[in-house]
Symmetry: C2
Subunit: 314 residues, 2 copies
């Protein structure tokens, strides 16, 4: 049976990543972007990424994937008859608002529209849409075809059925959706990341350890469990009787540590310069691009590993 067509609106890095996710799962994908120069290069970018995925055996057939993707210069034509719209235009209220005004009338009102917004909640650009009940945040991690988490965040007026529909679609295309129950600044992922980052910057400020050693604490320590278990499951398994036992043993210690940081400081300029200096010793500015390519290869190898490990051990 032919799969539903998906529209991707906005063809920057994030939109291109989404096109791969949907096309990899067998969906025809129509990409729209208002900017001719973006449209002109999006397929080449996708092909390069698809070749990398093929190299790691993460997809079977580059040409079959490419054949499912088309690029459009007319928004109405791009969204006609689709089952879902993933919007990934520039993250600013003045940019998103007119796009949603257009989608409001162009897309039949039973079709969900998810926004890739990483910070602006949907209520800030969908309020005046007649069909706002089918609009929500569907926030990916970059690149979405390697890091599968998707945060689904309804606006106060988003229909629960729509959240369910997008949850089912994301699961079907091999993403890992979560339900954020209400709009909260930074959603879940950036709040958790932010909490750890604030402490990392504070430790750097105090000279408790070098930037490289703070990084190693995660990459050779905490991050190993967190690559396959969340923080609650981690502590649930780290006390004889589970999470309540852990809380009884260590809750006071962690509250004490947190209380000692109850006046969070901004990442002030001299500290930022200091951290920047340490990073540039470990990674010269002209090597950043190369290191990003390394990161993506490591993410691909990890994706291969995780798929095998889940198959073997659950």
């Amino acid at each position: 049976m032919a799969k539903d067509t998906i529209a991707v609106v906005g063809a920057g890095l994030v939109g291109a990543g989404w096109a791969i996710v949907f096309a990899r799962a067998g969906h025809p994908v129509r990409i729209f972007d208002a900017e001719p120069s973006v449209r002109a290069k999006v397929l080449d970018g996708i092909r390069a990424n698809a070749n990398d995925l093929k190299h790691f055996d993460l997809i079977d057939d580059v040409e079959a994937l490419m054949a499912r993707i088309t690029v459009h210069d007319d928004l109405g034509a791009a969204v006609k008859g689709v089952a879902y719209v993933q919007e990934s235009v520039f993250e600013s209220i003045p940019v998103k608002t007119p796009v949603y005004a257009a989608l409001d009338t162009l897309v039949p009102d039973n079709v969900p529209i998810g926004s890739s917004s990483s910070g602006i909640p949907a209520s800030q650009f969908t309020e005046h849409c007649k069909t706002r009940a089918r609009m929500l945040i569907s926030h990916p991690v970059n690149p979405p075809y390697l890091v599968p988490l998707v945060e689904l965040v309804p606006a106060p007026w988003t229909s629960p059925d729509v959240v369910d529909q997008v949850h089912a679609l994301m699961t079907a295309v091999d993403q890992k959706p979560i339900r954020v129950n209400h709009e909260v600044e930074g959603f879940i992922l950036n709040r958790l990341q932010g909490a750890l980052l604030m402490e990392a910057w504070a430790l750097a400020r105090e000279g408790a350890a070098s930037v490289a050693d703070i990084d190693k604490t995660v990459s050779e320590g905490l991050g190993l469990r967190w690559a396959f278990m969340g923080p609650f499951e981690t502590i649930d398994l780290n006390a004889p009787k589970g999470v309540a036992d852990y809380a009884a043993r260590l809750g006071k210690l962690f509250h004490g540590i947190a209380a000692s940081r109850n006046n969070p400081e901004p990442w002030e300029a001299p500290l930022v310069s200091e951290v920047e200096k340490e990073r540039r010793v470990d990674l010269a500015a002209d090597k950043i691009d190369e290191r990003r390519a390394w990161r993506d290869r490591r993410l691909m190898a990890l994706a291969v590993h995780k798929a095998k490990a889940v198959k073997q051990f659950g």
Copy 2:
């Protein structure tokens, strides 16, 4: 050339894990424990773990490893002529203090003594030792033969040379040591973990997402990068021009999020019960042990993957 002998003092789970680390690297290991019942079973536990490691090709030869390990009932005999002492007795000041008083006189003063203490700083149980300059914290993650991070934390009187020596030894036995520059509550690892946990509990308290979905945010999102890159390297690669660029773009957002949590709440009993209830739906109490075995298999598979990925991609 024969490798130096290492003494492991205290043969619980942590001490047994350390014995594997040193024996795996070819060192003769002498294990001491004051408790006969602990001594009686430690080798069986080590053998079971060594068999698992062999199954994953993480060691070559179980018998060769076991042949390097001996168990002793006399502390003086156990530490005689060793190059390093790793202490892993019960984590309490009244327990550790007399052990250090004994080590102070039994171990030649040029031999470093590292404590596995995860929270109590060395100054609290080494102050009255004559040879306290060679004593420090050498805090592992459990199990140390799968999660290589080691936090080296000097007391105010620890000699910098001793930190360097233990750093070199840990590196030589394939651990990943970091230097914590001064005693700080929770050291680095538990401060970073604690910061993320505090936010996770707060999100659960507010009903922002289910416990399972908060976990998924890490295990299918943040944790993938953190399995091979620390938080600073992650943000360094996530803005076009590196970490200072990232701080300029997002520092204010993260400071705002942190400021909204400037009065950290304890993990209060009703919340703990709620989280415990959600966890027990996802994992019944009588399945916790089985899930721990799953975790260890996943950690072993991840260790195999990381070794290969480092070899292939750096």
